[in-house]
Every structure is written in C-alpha cells, then in structure tokens.
Symmetry: C2
Subunit: 225 residues, 2 copies
C-alpha cells in the first residue's frame, strides 16, 4: 500500500480540519501523539545502548513543539536528549512543553555547546510543511554544523514541501518520520528509513483525502513505509 504524497495545500487543509470543530483534536493531543511517534521510531533504528546522545533541534513553530515532545519521551525511554531551541515563542503551549523538559533536567544548549558536543543522533524539528523561503540563522548554522546525520520530522528542514531541496540546504537525513501522511518531497528522500507517525486519522477522513495509509502494527504509533 503506497500512501498518497500530499501537496502543501492539502497538508495544511488536513491539519486545519483535524483541529477544527469537525475533527475535534486539541493541538496538545496531536503534538503529543506526533512527538511520541517520532521518539518511538528513533528507538527502532537507533538503540539507546549505542545511540544514547540525541540532539533535538527545535524551530519556532509546531514542528519544534513536536520535537520537544519527542525529547521528553526519549528521556523517559532512557536516552540522553539535549535540546537546541534558539527561538522560544512566548505562547503558553510552547512554554509548557519547555517546562516539562526542564523538569526532566533535559539540557537546553546554545550554539557553542551544540557545536562542541558529540551526538549520536540529530533530530531535525526545525521546520515542517508550512515552511517557505530560505533558511536563515540561527537555524542555518546549526544545520551546516550538525545537519548530516539523523532523523527529520515530517520534512527535512529547508526543503520545499513539494519539490525537495531546491534551495540546496543539503540536508539528506538517514531517517524521515512523516506525520499524518507523507508530503510530496518524500519522493526525493534518499535515506535508509522512512516511517509514518500519526495513528489518529479516522478511516472516513483518510478516505476523503485518499490518503491510502498503511496499517500500524500492535500498539505502535509509527510504521515503516
């Protein structure tokens, strides 16, 4: 079963519908399930015994929020996450996610600390499907220094959601975790592992958008594509 690849417009429409009165989801719920699915996918390919040190790079929007949730679950799974979150929005949603991570004593590192530290896995939660344009600092520099291994949330940051790396950002991750459904740019993904997260889509909803989603195994919140 090959899932449909979404355009940016449809991805945004689906996201809005899930959180509308007809979908009924709170952003906190969807973020919790998305972040959990990413953390779980990481455990499947990067076991904590050899890949314990995880850097989670978080952008200023929902993709970054998913990253904060993933970092929290990774901590509970026995990893040693570090968070790079250079622009922290004042919105309560994000402040609360930060608080939860701080309560776990997960370190928030600045660029120099990130630059100087070795990590086994880099999680790119900088930008998601809403991103347009060019990547600028402080995000660009961290991608240049740390950007060539690891795991991307939904789309590799800086890629065009439909056309892939047209801005020559150069992120070619080993793993991609698509959320809800893969986006068009996934056809340019050349890494080893492509997972899907977001086991909350109603069958009627998947049918309406022709998503053609695969079955998830057991109680897993992620499935390999």
């Amino acid at each position: 079963m090959v899932p449909k690849l979404l355009t940016q417009r449809i991805a945004q429409e689906i996201d809005q519908e899930l959180m509308s009165s007809s979908g009924g989801f709170a952003v906190e719920q969807l973020m919790e399930l998305a972040g959990f699915s990413v953390a779980q996918a990481i455990t499947k390919r990067y076991p904590k015994d050899s890949k314990r040190r995880v850097l989670v790079c978080c952008g200023p929007g929902n993709n970054g929020g998913d990253g904060l949730v993933a970092a929290r679950h990774l901590f509970h799974f026995g990893y040693e996450p570090t968070i790079y979150y250079p622009k922290q929005p004042q919105k309560g949603l994000y402040q609360n996610l930060v608080k939860q991570c701080r309560n776990l004593t997960i370190p928030f590192a600045d660029f120099d600390q990130v630059h100087a530290s070795p990590f086994d896995v880099i999680v790119d939660a900088l930008f998601g499907f809403s991103f347009k344009g060019e990547v600028r600092d402080p995000y660009k520099e961290v991608m240049q220094v740390k950007g060539h291994v690891g795991d991307d949330l939904d789309i590799p940051s800086g890629w065009d959601v439909e056309q892939g790396d047209i801005n020559n950002v150069g992120l070619n991750p080993e793993m991609l975790v698509s959320l809800t459904a893969p986006k068009l740019c996934a056809k340019f993904f050349a890494g080893k592992y492509h997972y899907l997260g977001g086991r909350f889509v109603a069958p009627s909803f998947a049918q309406k958008y022709g998503l053609n989603l695969p079955e998830y195994p057991g109680t897993d919140q992620c499935v390999q594509l």
Copy 2:
C-alpha cells in the same frame, strides 16, 4: 520495587501540581497518555482476536475522559469499542473527545443497548480518585448489570479511594490500571492483573512524593506491578 500507595489528598495534590505552571502539563496531554496506557494494557491481557468487543463506561469527569481516549486508541488497535456515556458534560474538552470517537464511528449506546449486548471486556471509567459518597443511577444500574468483569481505570468505581469497597458496590475487576501511582485502595484489589500507566512523571517529582515508581519496558506506556 513497591510503589507508594497514595491517599486521596496526595493524589489530588499530584494531579494539581502536574497541571500547574510548575508541572506544565495540559489536561489534554495527561488524558491522552493515560487513555493510551489503559488501551495498551488491555491489549496485553485481552487480545483482540478473542476479546474484541469492549464496552467502555464513562463517567462525567476526568476518569470518563481517560475512558474516551482509551476507546479511541482501542479502535485504532483493531478492537470494537462501544461507549456508554450517559451524562456528557458540555465542556469543550469532553465534547471534543466525543467528536473524535464519533468520527471513528464508535457507537454510543444507551442502557438498554448495553444491557442487551454481549461484551468481552468492560472498561470501568466511571469514577476516579476524586469520587466520594454513593454511586447512583444511571451509573449504579450499569455496574450491577455489567460490573463483574473487565478492567478498571485508576480505582474501581464506587470504591473509597483509601478504604476500598466500604459501600459494598461489589466491583471486583480482573484488571486494574492505576494512573500516575496506585491509590491506597489498591491493597484491596484481588484481581489478576495490576498495571500502572502514566509514564510522564519527572524523577524529581517522583522523589518529592516518594512514589517509588517501577521502570517501564521499551516504549510501553504501561507496566505490570
């Protein structure tokens, strides 16, 4: 490792602190994780091949909300949940959880339908640790008809949170899923399976309250006690 059994006062204090500005959790997050842990625990003891038909009885408070989340995840895991939710609060939180279940076409049954239908597992999400007093209709009748098998959320409904079944409600479930930490009444639990859910407690928090929580295996959100 034997977890501490909580008094009602401490259970309420912990709940409040998790959702305060110092804990930083949204009720939607905690409910999502609690409901997920209950659904996952059910899969471990009641496989869907033989125990597919699950009745989830939901009360008017947070315990009922956890039940609605559990029903949703059970649906995604391949079960056939039915929800009994005789008093549905107008609050957006609960209305949204109902909407999510309705979008999955999970049936909401009335008492006569519940009475007449066979179920393999009954999930009791009627009352949690805040409950005091006597169980009244419409909850009492469903417990009398359907109350003697299945799985209870946090505490068996109608039990005193510290002293157990002092009101002779008569619920003696086969399985109990304690949430965050078991309550004092768990020492009167005589069923086969006791699980703990709520893999979100910070170590510093567990230490402050002396919770003595066990380790969770893998990425599981529940652990057998």
